[in-house]
Symmetry: C2
Amino acid sequence: MRGAVMHAPGDVRVEKREDPKILAPSDAIIRLSATCICGSDLWPWRGIDKVHGPSPMGHEYVGVVEQIGSEVKTIKVGDFVVGSFFASDNTCEICQAGYQSRCVHAQLMGSEGAQAELLHVPMADGTLVATPGMPDADLVPSLLAASDVLGTGWFGAVAAEAGPGKTVAVVGDGAVGLLAILAAKQLGAERIIAMSRHESRQKLALEFGATDIIDERGDAGVAKIKELTGGLGAHSVVEAVGTQESMMQAIRSTRPGGHVGYVGVSHGVELPGEELFFSGVHLHGGPAPVRRFLPELIDLIWNRKINPGKVFDLELPLDQAAEGYKAMDERRAIKVLLHL
Amino acid sequence: MRGAVMHAPGDVRVEKREDPKILAPSDAIIRLSATCICGSDLWPWRGIDKVHGPSPMGHEYVGVVEQIGSEVKTIKVGDFVVGSFFASDNTCEICQAGYQSRCVHAQLMGSEGAQAELLHVPMADGTLVATPGMPDADLVPSLLAASDVLGTGWFGAVAAEAGPGKTVAVVGDGAVGLLAILAAKQLGAERIIAMSRHESRQKLALEFGATDIIDERGDAGVAKIKELTGGLGAHSVVEAVGTQESMMQAIRSTRPGGHVGYVGVSHGVELPGEELFFSGVHLHGGPAPVRRFLPELIDLIWNRKINPGKVFDLELPLDQAAEGYKAMDERRAIKVLLHL
């Protein structure tokens, strides 16, 4: 099969890889309908995360089950499925509490390389959720978004306790930030403040439910949020970047007793204990337990209540993955879908 | 009147101070029945916090209202009252959300100096809660505990979401940690693990409701908690120290999706963003909004359902405050009550 492999920062090639095989009786192999490039794939592309030899890339996927192991019970060959970037058994105590990304048997799908024609999925019954049938083509991007960016933005909004009567601010206007806006809207937030300075992203933010746009960043952004909230700060702030500046912006934009949901993968962040202590905020986040939300998200997409697939503003064939990485790195695209 | 004043680290003197006066129509003056020394008073005593000239000390108090300003409505002269270390209006949006320690008009009582005969209390209607009548003498220590250490330990347990079915671990065996154990028990926790290596404190921990005692600290303490919780970590961990080691011990002892309630005043703590991100814990804490809990705590004490006053294992007259500081610094006493 063909699949994208990163050889070094800035060097992604679609090349022949070995076909994945059933290795354990709980495995499945799926034939991908679509996959995509994640903001987190840009960390190694930019040389911020180390590349240790040729690495298969990609962890977002939807597709049709081609083969299952002997113990797989709920997923059938021919099912159209969505899965998360963490494989999980969905039965352990941690999964049952809704933290499937930290399942006691969790396996990061990154090493499997989902930017490919076929994908090996461990613990298929726990990891995959089948759609009610074969989706219309126009639903595929939204279902693919559910695999990571929608689930992650949703978790950010849930962790920030977005809901009725709440003012929610979102730091970060990448796909995750934009979909946190969509999530906050669905969760009933009263006011949603998007922090963005890019016109195309502001437009999508408004379409997803933002009521206010702030283009200031850092301390100026914090001051603006305070100005919009009677000096108190937002009830709920979603952090969807992962840098020191964005984390501090999120914490400082939140009122005492408010909630920060942080889903940007933390890079070089050090939180000052004393400031955090006196801020009085709630802090929750981490790798999103997307699996928790998949049934609900698939349902919303299937019934055309939400259209998260709009974050894909560039579609390319898998073979042009490298061009996709470049477009996202240069912020020419919010998110790139790779079709097969 | 007489009051304790810190002149330099290790130098506390009880000396003549000017009698406090009504400065605003919402003020009250109370005559103290008892006051005490806080673990946080030891930071300047030890020279870790700077002492900027002679400083009146103390922020924990119970007593009888002696004088009220013209706008005070709910508190009357002659009432026996308990207040928190933060004065608060109890009416602003932040107070109404339960974060009175971050009231938009919050005033730290520390500068008022409660280790004294009389105390000036701003925003008396918001800050003070009257007991149903004059308390029996044996209830006074418990009511005094409610003013800070009980309210703080209680907030730690609430922030850690201690409750039925939960395993709660408490890092720190000072008065706050011990009372977090009492709180966890009252909140219905199934199992309460006290981390303590001092026999007298272990004894009190067990009396307050601890089911297990761990005397290991740091990584060894974390390993022991994991061992007791099927490798997962506790659901809820209260941090009641405020150092880098204790914070990391608390975070690492918590299972993914679990809750850390941190109430130890943070000193020199830097939280590593990446580890925190991947831990998947909830983090909440800060200066406890004691006022939120006072009505409930007074009720429990009044009806002799809890006896938090047991943390006072040394009682001295106010004039011997310096000896009280020494006894706590040398860990000869858990907490020192100063009587008047």
